[in-house]
């Protein structure tokens, strides 16, 4: 009996430890199936882009693995449940239908909060953000065989843009639309180089940014973005001005940079891309629970919404921090109470 209970405990423990791996494998398999179906049974799959597609499968594994590890900590797990609960609540959607789309646009799209930190950093981050969004929207579907360009006349100039084999639009390759369609990645590279260079120079010159900065965490992501963008632009330079000179070497260099960055993405600074939506969940949870506010038990100043205070106390109890009732006192009253206690009990009447 004792052995059985021990085994049972071990198996639960193992499931807990294996959960991130299982989540990663399931996500990677789902992506593989999506690639197979979206490329019409690999009919539209471009084998020249296979390394990118394989790297994206590893990326899907890494993101799901890292995300599951992240939300297994008590604070993140509670916020994950409350945030998604608030976002998907039918009652909230009916009561405030514009709240979620508005927060997604202002927080995740235009990143209003970064403007409150620094306007120049906001501008540089917007360049990187929209550059990466544009690049991701083009490259992922291309490498998965979802996105194809076909021409009924063989070599154009009439082209059809297809998604999952269905024609989306027809355009002339020699028109402005055609130029933009075929140079989207060059435009993305210019945006990213401008933004990443600003941040790189800031990291080398600004002592605020330099405090405690780590090469692998803070500088490698910027260098990776710049290397990917520069090698990508050099590919266009090679084909336009050098008649393809050095193209093979540049293509391998660009591919190596992209693949290594995709593999690094879940485990470094880039993981903030997956974490940032938690801000929307958090704010939505506070917003929809805004009816009741917890006052400081000493001075009566508001601390936070009652639901959020209860959520934090639950997190502290999960973590076995035995002083969760301190949440009911505002920061200033905590300091005053400690100072007064020192004055009356430790160094009397200083």
């Amino acid at each position: 009996m004792l052995l059985k209970r021990h085994e049972q405990h071990f198996s639960f423990h193992s499931i807990g430890r294996m959960r991130p791996v299982v989540a990663g494998i399931v996500t990677a398999l789902v992506l593989c199936a999506a690639i197979y179906l979206g490329s019409r049974g690999l009919h539209n799959f471009d084998s020249a882009l296979a390394p990118y597609a394989i790297a994206s499968v590893f990326l899907a594994f890494g993101i799901a693995y890292r995300y599951t590890v992240w939300i297994s900590s008590p604070g993140a797990r509670r916020l994950f449940k409350k945030g998604w609960g608030a976002a998907l609540s039918w009652q909230n959607m009916r009561r405030a239908p514009t709240a979620l789309p508005r927060m997604i646009a202002t927080y995740l799209g235009f990143q209003k909060f970064l403007g409150a930190r620094s306007r120049s950093r906001w501008a540089a981050h917007q360049l990187i953000f929209w550059g990466c969004v544009l690049a991701a929207l083009i490259t992922f579907p291309l490498s998965w065989g979802w996105f194809t360009f076909t021409s009924p006349t063989g070599s154009g100039p009439q082209y059809s843009m297809n998604l999952w084999g269905f024609s989306l639009a027809k355009f002339d390759a020699l028109s402005v639309v055609g130029w933009i369609a075929f140079h989207g990645l060059d435009l993305a590279a210019v945006l990213v180089i401008a933004g990443a260079t600003y941040f790189l120079v800031r990291r080398m010159r600004d002592r605020e940014a330099g405090t405690g900065q780590r090469f692998g965490y803070d500088l490698v992501p910027l260098l990776a973005l710049i290397i990917i963008s520069v090698t990508g632009l050099l590919l266009t330079f090679s084909s336009v001005f050098l008649h393809g000179g050095g193209y093979q070497f540049l293509a391998v260099l660009h591919m190596a940079a992209v693949v290594l960055t995709l593999l690094y993405l879940p485990f470094g600074k880039f993981f903030h891309i997956a974490q940032r939506p938690a801000a929307v969940g958090m704010q939505l949870f506070k917003y929809t629970e805004h009816g009741s506010v917890q006052p400081c038990r000493v001075c009566g100043e508001p601390i936070d919404t009652t639901a959020y205070v209860e959520n934090l106390r639950g997190t502290m109890q999960d973590l076995k921090l035995g002083f969760d009732q301190v949440v009911l006192t505002c920061p200033r009253c905590k300091r005053l109470a400690r100072g007064q206690a020192y004055r009356t009990e430790v160094k009397r009447g200083f």
């Binding site: 008590p74 604070g75 993140a76 509670r78 508005r102 202002t106 909060f113 970064l114 409150a116 930190r117 605020e208 330099g210 405090t211 405690g212 600074k269 903030h272 974490q275 938690a278 958090m282 704010q283 917003y287 805004h290 506010v293 917890q294 006052p295 038990r297 000493v298 009566g300 100043e301 508001p302 601390i303 936070d304 919404t305 934090l312 997190t315 502290m316 973590l319 921090l321 035995g322 002083f323 009732q325 301190v326 949440v327 006192t329 505002c330 920061p331 200033r332 009253c333 905590k334 300091r335 005053l336 109470a337 400690r338 100072g339 007064q340 206690a341 020192y342 004055r343 430790v346 160094k347």
Partner: protein, 217 residues
């Protein structure tokens, strides 16, 4: 307690705000003071008390433990850092969970701020800004031996009783020499002379600078 650390003697504080001004000059958080200077019994006494981050060691950094975004880093030297700017979501968990009332938050910027022991200075062997300018030695930076060479016989404590939980910290506080060495300092969390009580409807309470409630979007 860390090797070289801050030692606070509230009994020496004259409330001059030099530490507050100097903290604002620190390169890692320019223009924003991370130190709190509280007048303990305004109108009746001149007693004041400076509060820096105590860099909790056991339980290790409650602020970092409750952070849902893994934004607060504790380096091997025991320093509990301010929030990573790319990760902090401005939820305020750290602000309210901190038993010492240390972290601040900028709600518009969705960013927490707190004392990081002037890491840009202390990692190069320099004293934090507050300790450099304190005219009375209320905020001292150095080892315990260095403190005792200046103040023979001085005793310090680095444990607090927070509602029955013993919290040991990296930053120490001066205590009278005759106080038992293992007696924790009062955390003050149990003192509630005016209990105001239960949850209130929104709009009934005016927010102050410390709260993390913010505006509904």
């Amino acid at each position: 307690m860390m090797g070289r650390t801050i030692v606070i003697d509230p009994g020496r504080c004259i409330g001059c705000q030099a530490c507050v001004s100097a903290c604002r000059e620190c390169d890692s958080h320019r223009g924003r003071s991370m130190i709190h200077l509280d007048y303990l019994d305004q109108g009746n006494s001149v007693a004041s008390s400076p509060t820096v981050c105590m860099h909790c060691e056991d339980p290790l950094a409650p602020c970092a433990q409750v952070c849902p975004a893994e934004a607060i880093l504790v380096t091997p030297d025991g320093v509990v850092h301010d929030a990573d700017k790319s990760r902090c979501i401005g939820c305020g968990n750290c602000v309210n969970a901190c038993p010492m009332g240390v972290p601040k938050i900028d709600l518009a910027a969705k960013l927490q701020f707190k004392c990081n022991l002037c890491y840009d200075r202390t990692s190069y062997g320099l004293a934090p800004m507050c300790a450099t300018v304190c005219p009375t030695g209320s905020i001292f930076y150095g080892t315990l031996d260095e403190l005792r060479s200046e103040r023979p016989g001085v005793e310090v404590a680095s444990t607090f009783d927070i509602d029955g939980t013993i919290l040991s910290t990296g930053v120490a506080v001066v205590v009278p020499g005759d106080r038992p060495r293992d007696l924790p300092l009062p955390g003050g969390a149990g003192e509630h002379p005016r209990v105001t009580g239960s949850p209130q409807p929104a709009g009934h309470l005016e927010p102050n600078a410390d709260n993390v409630l913010g505006e509904p979007l």
